[in-house]
């Protein structure tokens, strides 16, 4: 059943390719139908799911001579992310309702990306997972390069190459693991049971973990993220931040940490206070949280603020992963969901509601436009999204980041304190953005008239088209999801937490998973 999330997306691609040229309306309706069907299947799978189990969706021979199987399955972690993908897919289309230029191709690439993402989350064979992971790279490139804005070709190429370098690292690790384990299986479950030599795990783990984490925005390999997000069209930024960055974090958890758990173990010696890869990654994650927040604080471009905030929030996910306790790990997964929803909402406001209407993202220009009067809906949405992003109680971000912090407190008390500082800076940049974009004084600093793309006079603001219905639906959906999880986090946590007691994580338990 769940496998149909993948198939239906690729079927959608086929249908779109066969549609006649130039009929944008049919294209977006077909895409919408596909995405809604995907979300519906994901929801159905979620409702039917019994916490703690691992549902095998399909398990068939694929390349028997190499022991590679077509194995799709779902546990609580994958289901949570499948659900997120469905939600992001639907809302992404709602916020790209205004795409007219080569709409058919846009939605075809879009659905191909979605199909790949579903595939990654459902794969329980490392080879299959890698196949889907790479399928997701190419559509991203085209979506950004064709429909993007600022420096789109540069941003797209940078993103594609970063992703590909990351996946090259993963491929090296996977081939080595495959051969060392006897070259007869690629199943994640089987490989997780195989006792890889300690020395091997110590180099394979960082290779594969970082290879995946590049896509999760691990500092200092995060630089693709802000440029990519800024260059991308709204729907693509939403997907990039919403689900693609999760692909990386998910891969780190599902592949690197389960296959090579001893890679998290102590080296047996210390270098500058580091005693294991775990320490190194924890520090990089916290650096990402604080650095991302600080850089977001000084951005002049509205979208860059959100771009760097993504780096900061993804730091929580990576930090949660290396806390090695259930509360931190489940917090990480919850944060993946939460950030997926909130980042999607933030990018929707920036890209679709504001930029598509004002054609500028310069904070100093927007300051003079009094957008809270022109598009009050956008202002309300952004204030709510900002509150969720800051981690105010009642929103999903609060629960998730709190869990990660508690987990981190147990493992790395000092880093947890520094993370707290990062959260405070997070409040600062969000409030700064809210204030500048929506509640700026007329004629404030808009005298900086050097912006060629802006319309500084503020006259055009009165003619801003009102927020359309699809946008409203999308915003309500995302806010609703964040509120729902914020008020009733057990909805997801009950599904996520038992997953960590599956045999897949036996290896992690040996190195200290509590």
């Amino acid at each position: 059943m769940l496998a149909w999330t993948i198939y239906i997306s690729f079927l959608g691609v086929l249908v779109l390719m066969l549609l006649p040229k130039g009929n944008a309306s049919a294209a977006r309706k077909a895409a919408m139908l596909t995405a809604v069907a995907g979300l519906f299947i994901a929801l159905l799978g979620f409702v039917r799911f019994q916490p703690g189990e691992t549902v095998t969706v399909t398990d068939a021979e694929w390349i028997p001579s190499l022991g590679i199987r077509y194995h799709l399955a779902a546990d609580g972690i994958s289901l949570t992310l499948v659900l997120l993908t469905g939600l992001a897919a639907v809302t992404g289309i709602l916020f790209s309702w205004n795409i007219e230029h080569r709409a058919k191709e846009f939605f075809a690439f879009y659905l191909a990306l979605i199909g790949g993402v579903y595939g990654v989350f459902l794969s329980f064979d490392a080879f299959l997972l890698f196949v889907f992971y790479e399928i997701a790279i190419i559509p991203k490139y085209f979506i950004i390069a064709i429909w993007g804005s600022t420096r789109r070709e540069y941003g797209a190429m940078k993103l594609a190459l970063y992703s590909f370098v990351g996946s090259a690292m993963v491929l090296i690790g996977l081939i080595a693991a495959y051969v060392v384990a006897g070259a007869h299986t690629m199943s994640i479950g089987e490989l997780a049971k195989y006792p890889f030599p300690h020395g091997f795990q110590l180099w394979a783990f960082p290779l594969v973990f970082v290879g995946f984490a590049i896509l999760a925005g691990l500092w200092p390999f995060h630089t693709w993220a802000p440029t990519g997000h800024v260059a991308a069209p709204t729907a693509a930024s939403m997907l990039l931040a919403g689900v693609v960055m999760k692909l990386g974090a998910y891969g780190s958890l599902r592949v690197a940490m389960t296959l090579f758990p001893e890679g998290l173990d102590d080296w047996g010696f210390g270098v500058m206070g580091f005693h294991s890869w775990r320490d190194v990654i924890a520090l990089l994650a916290v650096t990402g949280i604080v650095y991302g927040a600080m850089v977001a604080l000084v951005q002049k471009d509205f979208k860059f603020v959100i771009g760097y905030s993504s780096v900061s929030h993804m730091g929580f996910v990576l930090l949660g992963l290396v806390t090695l306790n259930t509360i931190g790990l489940s917090g990480a997964v919850l944060q993946m969901f939460s950030h997926g929803v909130i980042a999607g909402l933030l990018f929707a406001v920036v890209g679709r509601m504001v930029y598509d209407r004002t054609h500028t993202r310069e904070l100093s220009v927007l300051e003079g436009m009094q957008l809270s009067k022109a598009i009050p809906f956008a202002a309300t949405t952004f204030v709510i999204a900002g509150m969720a992003s800051m981690g105010l109680p009642g929103f999903s971000g609060f629960v998730a980041e709190l869990q990660v912090l508690i987990g981190a407190w147990k493992a790395y008390p000092t880093l947890a304190v520094i993370t707290g500082v990062g959260i405070v800076i997070g409040v600062a940049y969000t409030l700064r953005a809210v204030q500048k974009v929506f509640f700026g004084e007329r004629g404030g600093t808009s005298s900086t008239s050097s912006h060629s793309s802006g319309n500084e006079d503020g006259d055009a603001v009165e003619h801003v088209p009102p927020i359309s219905v699809p946008e409203r639906i999308g915003a309500v959906l995302l806010i609703g999801a964040s509120l729902l999880i914020g008020l009733y986090p057990r909805l997801l946590l009950d599904v996520i937490v038992p997953s960590f007691s599956s045999p897949l994580f036996d290896g992690l338990r040996k190195v200290g998973l509590q």
């Binding site: 390719m17 694929w62 390349i63 028997p64 001579s65 190499l66 191709e105 080879f127 890698f130 196949v131 790479e134 399928i135 790279i137 190419i138 490139y141 085209f142 390069a145 064709i146 070709e153 190429m157 594609a160 190459l161 590909f164 370098v165 090259a168 491929l171 090296i172 081939i175 080595a176 495959y178 051969v179 060392v180 070259a183």
Partner: protein, 495 residues
């Protein structure tokens, strides 16, 4: 063994050779007055029927024999490679039907078939004399095919370069092989290995190894013997270039692996990290590494799509050499999977270039701008070909790479000896995505230049390219279609 039996064994080759003569005769006697295109269609049909008949013969009458001590070896694996070669030949012929560079239709098609015959004999040979003769038959046909566009001075230049380098390489091969004969007193590969076994690395044997590697390195266009390739790929008529890049590659790699694995068995040495031992493996390891680095880096700066494909071909030769290095059954299977799917992909890529070049006049990257708006079908095909070459799943190029790399790592297990070369290969294939995306960027992202004329790809090209693209997707999505057959063939061989 009497001649009738021999004829039976060599029937596929004979059928193709007869088809070549028929094409020549029919064109010469009855079609002189007709339009070039009609002549190409009729000639192409005859050639295609010949190839299909040869394929059917091999499928219907499986044979296993070894005639005259390795002069003609017929076994499931050689039959498989021949079928693949004939399939590539058919696609080359189909590609040439739309071309308009020559009026010597019969000669052109006949030469393609003769080259195919040479490749088929090459695949079947396990005797150094026969190998050399077959190699020359192939090469001489390919030289002429390269020069066939008499209206284009680049074609002549390319052919001359190809010929001069090729002649030199043939001399090296002959020198290496004659040293082998001198050392062992035998011309059969198996007997050579038996005679050399246990004697250690004679200095003369080292010379023989190096000379042979030079000779075959030229055929597969590996660095530093690659200099002819970019010019030949750029100057030759497109179908010729496609054939050189696909059929010739498959046959050469097969015989290269065979000579090294059977003829030099026992002189492998080791190219593993920190475990270097002299032999042919370290020699080829260096050649492979250089090919990957130079091919990929130089491809980045090319502005002609054909030259880009040429340098990427050099890089791919480097990847395929990894399988030669691994020298076991698994490696042969991976090499053949890689070479065959690579052949299909390259023919396709050249097919797209041919369509564009015929209409726009050149093959510069800029000429491809906005192609997706003007001809969506062939653009989509090109996307499949380029992404497959870059190694993006689920296309054939990805599985080929995975298979070859896994085979190469496996031979060094448990200490992962050749891992260093595999890491280099994977890193370099990450680089390669950049230039393949450059092509796709022009096709999909760039705008159609203002005032560009209406552009229609011929239906036949669209169908052929669509078939090739479907093949690349299918073989990548279900690699077992090919891998399963290959493994059966290899286990039936019983080496």
């Amino acid at each position: 063994m009497n001649y009738l039996e021999l004829l039976k064994l060599a029937a596929p080759e004979t059928i193709v050779a007869v088809a070549a003569l028929v094409v020549l005769a029919v064109d010469l006697t009855t079609m002189r007055e007709l339009d070039t295109r009609v002549r190409f269609i009729i000639g192409g049909m005859i050639a295609g029927v010949g190839c299909v008949a040869a394929i059917l013969w091999m499928l219907a009458l499986p044979a296993q024999a070894n005639a005259f001590a390795g002069m003609l070896v017929v076994e499931p694996l050689t039959q498989f490679v021949k079928i693949a070669l004939l399939a590539l030949t058919i696609f080359t012929v189909l590609l040439s039907i739309e071309s308009n560079f020559t009026t010597h239709v019969g000669e052109y098609l006949a030469l393609i078939l003769f080259a195919a015959v040479g490749m088929m004999f090459l695949v079947s040979a396990e005797d150094i004399l026969m190998i050399f003769i077959a190699l020359e038959l192939t090469s001489l046909s390919l030289y002429i095919l390269t020069a066939f566009n008499k209206r284009n001075i680049k074609s002549a230049e390319a052919a001359l370069k190809y010929f001069l380098f090729g002649g030199m390489a043939a001399a090296f091969t002959l020198f290496g092989l004659s040293l082998l004969y001198g050392l062992s007193g035998a011309t059969n590969l198996g007997q050579i290995a038996a005679a050399l076994n246990g004697k250690g690395l004679d200095p003369l044997l080292v010379v023989a190894i190096v000379m042979t590697v030079i000779g075959f390195g030229f055929k597969v266009a590996a660095v530093p013997f690659h200099l002819w390739a970019p010019d030949a790929y750029e100057g030759a008529p497109t179908p010729s270039a496609a054939f050189i890049a696909s059929g010739s590659k498959v046959a050469s790699f097969f015989i290269f692996a065979k000579v090294m694995m059977i003829g030099f068995a026992g002189a492998e040495g080791s190219g593993a990290w920190h475990q270097y031992a002299s032999g042919w493996v370290p020699v080829i390891a260096v050649v492979a590494g250089l090919s990957m680095i130079l091919g990929n880096l130089v491809a980045i700066v090319q502005s002609s799509v054909r030259r880009l494909i040429a340098y990427s071909a050099i890089a791919h030769a480097g990847y395929m050499l990894l399988a030669v290095l691994a020298h076991d059954q698994e490696a042969v299977a991976s090499l053949l999977y890689y070479a065959v799917t690579y052949g299909l992909t390259t023919i396709g890529a050249f097919g797209v270039v041919a369509v564009v070049q015929d209409r726009a006049g050149d093959d510069n990257l800029a000429t491809f701008a906005g192609l997706s708006r003007r001809s969506p079908v062939i653009s989509f095909c090109m996307m499949i070909f380029m992404l497959s070459l870059a190694g993006i799943p689920p296309l054939a190029g990805f599985f080929g790479k995975f298979y070859v790399f896994a085979a190469a790592v496996k031979t060094g297990a448990p200490n992962l000896g050749l891992m260093w070369l595999v890491i280099l290969a994977i890193a370099m294939s990450a680089v390669s995505l950049y230039y393949y995306l450059q092509v796709l960027k022009q096709i999909y992202v760039a705008d159609v230049p203002a005032g560009a004329p209406e552009f229609r790809a011929p239906i036949l090209s669209q169908v052929v390219l669509g078939l090739l693209a479907a093949g690349v997707i299918l073989l990548g999505g279900a690699p077992n279609l090919l891998v399963g057959v290959l493994q059966q063939c290899i286990s039936a061989m019983g080496h």
